[in-house]
Every structure is written in C-alpha cells, then in structure tokens.
C-alpha cells in the first residue's frame, strides 16, 4: 500500500486521464509560478478543445502560450490576456473564446470551487459588462453581483517544495493563484522544485495541505522573466 505518497515518476503519469474537452485550472501569474512541465506535457499529448482557467495565457512560445500553437485551447477564462500575438490572431479569427473575469473574482471563484461554495456575491463588476446577465442584489444599501464557483477536471500547480504526502509550500510571489487552483481540480497535479520527506516542513507553515493533491512530481523550471526591471 502506498498510503499518502503522491509522487509520480513522469509527466505522462502526472497528466494521465486528461481528455479532449476537459477544463484545466492552472496556477501562475504572468510567467511567474506556472506549472511548466504540466503545460509541456499537455502540448505533447495534443489534447484539444480545452477550457483553460488561468489569470493569463503566457506569451508566444512560453507558458500556456505554447498550447495555442496547435490550437489546443477552445476557451480561456482569464483576467488579462493578449501578451501574445498568436492569442490575438486566434481570438480575432474566432478560433478562441475568452471569458474575461476580474482578477479578484477569478481567485475567489477558484477558492469557492474548492471550498464547496457554489456562488458568492461581490461588488466587483457591478454596473460593468462583467455584470451583464448576472443577478444583482443589494446588501446594506450597496449593489452586488452573484458569481459562481469554478472547478476543473484537472488543476495544474507549481510549488516550491513539497513533502511526499503532497504538503506544498510556495516561494515568494510564485504563490499567486496556485493555492486556490490546487483546491479546485477533480485531479490536482503539483510540480515542485524539490521533494522532501514528510516531517521536513513545519505543519503550521504549509500553504497547500496534501489532502488537495493527487499527484506530485519534481520538475526543472526555466522561470522565464516577463518584465526584467532592475535598478542601478
């Protein structure tokens, strides 16, 4: 019996079961803290008609952007897109659907999906195109719109360190959307820079408890920088 050991030996195994038409929730913000290996594996598998829920869609040739090359993405749910020419082309050609969602609402929709909250109210987007067609409700004299949770068939997540039980910690701002993504997948895959033994991480300092993690893999990461800004 393997108990709580979530470690798998290959990305093939990590992404096994992904099928055409599925929804994949991806952690990451811009190119920071993105599950590079899982994305590469999806490209390799050639899975099509995917709905991808991620704050951004990478850039040309890196991150989720590589899934555009073979038109694997049917729909993106994001707060900010279009850092890549290919995205723009496919969008304008009607080959790609985009559901723009405010960043905080997107984060909360993922959290809600993982937390058994089917819907919540937020003032964000009220009176804007985002609120069109959504229920409006007043609380304490202010108007809010109802937003529904998001869950995915798969969630792909980039951590820093994890123990073999799938307890994960994130590094710096590479945390971003990853903890919520991890909770919202029917199958959650976490790739990390280092796998350690249970007991090596402080129990009170774990960002994602192993209960959310189905498969864990150690990867190597390019960590491309989108906007390298330095001071003298």
């Amino acid at each position: 019996m393997s108990g709580f050991n979530k470690v798998v030996g290959s990305y093939e195994e990590a992404m096994a079961g992904l099928e055409d038409g599925m929804t994949v929730i991806a952690g990451g913000f811009g190119l920071c803290g993105i599950p590079e290996g899982c994305i590469a594996q999806i490209k390799k598998m050639g899975t099509k008609e995917l709905t991808i829920v991620s704050n951004n869609c990478g850039v040309d040739g890196f991150g989720l952007g590589i899934l555009l090359e073979d038109k694997q993405i049917k729909k993106m749910v994001s707060s900010y897109v279009g850092e890549n020419k290919l995205f723009e082309d496919q969008l304008l050609a009607g080959e790609l659907e985009v559901e723009l969602t405010p960043q905080g609402t997107l984060a909360e929709k993922m959290r809600a999906g993982g937390a058994g909250i089917p819907a919540f109210y937020t003032a964000t987007g009220y009176g804007t195109p985002v609120g069109d067609g959504k229920e409006v409700r007043e609380f304490d004299g202010r108007k809010y719109i109802m937003e529904e949770a998001i869950t995915g068939d798969f969630a792909i997540v980039k951590g820093w360190k994890a123990d073999t039980y799938g307890n994960v910690i994130y590094r710096h701002t590479a945390q971003n959307f990853n903890p919520m993504a991890a909770t919202a997948g029917k199958i959650t895959i976490v790739e990390v820079e280092e796998i350690v033994e249970p007991g090596e991480l402080d129990p009170t300092q774990i960002h994602t408890p192993g209960i959310y993690v189905d498969r864990l893999i150690q990867g190597t990461f390019e960590k491309r920088i989108e906007q390298r800004t330095v001071r003298a």
Partner: protein
C-alpha cells in the same frame, strides 16, 4: 502649464498619510512611490499577492519568483508579507487598502470610471482594476484632463464600458484636482498657471467652480 507626469505623481502623493497601505496602478500611479513625503511611511500592496513592495532589484537580486502586479521584477521591504491572490483580493475587496491610485480613460459626475476597454480595439482584460475600484473607499484617479484629440475625459456620463460604478470621488488631472459630489465635479485646485476658464472649457461634465480655486502646490 499642464502638470508633467512627475508633477501629477507629486500632487497625488500629497494625499498619502503615514501608515497608509497603498495600491498603485501601472503608469503615472507607479511614480507616486517616488514622492512619499520625508519621514512618512507607506506600504505598497501589489495585487498578485505582496504587501510591502520595495524598489526594483539590482541585477544580482533579480528573482523570477518575486514580481509585482505589472509582472516586473521587484523586491520586498522589511516587514513585508506575501500571500495568495485570493488573500490579496480579500484585502482589496474587503476595503483594507487605505488608498488606491489608478489611471482612467473617462470619469463621470456619478463617480463612474472607464479604464479597461475601448470597443473596436482588442480587449486585453481588466486584470485587478474592477476589484480595486469596487473595494476601495479611497480612490484617486489620475489622468490627463482631455485626450490627445482634445476631448474631455471628465464627463456627465462615461461613453466607454465601465470598470466600476459610483466609486470615484477624487480626480487629479494635468490641469486640476477635482472632487465628485452629488452628481457634479467640484474644482478644488488648479495646476499652476492654468486658468479656471481653461479647465471649464475642457471639462465635459457638470462642474462647480467655487469662488476661490487655489493653485496646487507641486
């Protein structure tokens, strides 16, 4: 004379208070960080999940895992905290950020703001802007008073799709500082050397001009 980008930032910086947690948008708002008054401490919130953003890193300090909401490499100040984007927007949506500064295409007398989408142009998305305007009690919009064609950006009703409804109370433009109250702009200050007449002529929305409109101190 119309304010320069730096002067706009300087004027906005006068709204800072000691101990403020502040979220600065991309562009002119970012420059505000350069004009924090001597001896005053403010802490910058970056909506990807960072409270206590520091300056850009040195070449040696550059770290792909340490970026701000503009995806730029940054550093942290002593006493910073780093968290998930859900926690970050819980802070923002919950009204815990003391001041938010952001740009706009248009603002109107109802406090509506349009800043993310121009129909006909490719839409990139709202990012965190809708959450920021919905969450903050205290927002300053900073922008030019008119667009490059001379059309006023201070209107009776925004023509572009909104970012938020009824949430803006303060606007700093290159010509003036205005407040929004009871469905009208109130002219509070003029940019140095700019006449009330020029401001009136370039303001599309209903404008109240008090007897005395002092010059800004920038």
């Amino acid at each position: 004379m119309a304010l320069s980008r730096e002067q706009l930032a300087m004027r906005v910086a006068q709204e800072l208070q000691d101990g403020f947690y502040v979220n600065l948008g991309i562009g002119i708002p970012t420059l505000v960080a350069n004009y924090v008054p001597e001896g005053m401490e403010v802490m910058l919130q970056s909506e990807n999940g960072l409270l206590g953003m520091g300056p850009f890193p040195t070449e040696e300090e550059v770290d792909a895992d340490m970026i701000n909401a503009g995806k730029q490499t940054v550093t942290t100040i002593t006493g910073a905290s780093i968290f998930s984007s859900a926690e970050s927007f819980a802070m923002i949506r919950g009204g815990h950020v003391d001041l938010t500064v952001l740009g706009a295409f248009e603002v109107d007398v109802q406090g509506n703001i349009a800043s993310w989408m121009i129909p006909g142009k490719l839409i990139k998305g709202m990012g965190g802007a809708m959450d920021l305007v919905a969450g903050a009690d205290n927002i300053i919009v900073t922008m030019t008073h008119a667009d490059k064609h001379g059309n006023s950006k201070l209107l009776n009703e925004c023509t572009l799709p909104l970012t938020g409804a009824g949430c803006i109370k303060k606007v700093v433009t290159d010509l003036a500082y205005l407040e929004i109250e009871d469905g009208q702009f109130i002219l509070k200050e003029r940019a140095p050397g700019v006449s009330v007449e020029e401001i009136v002529s370039k303001t599309g929305g209903k404008l109240v001009v008090p007897d005395n409109v002092p010059e800004m101190n920038v």
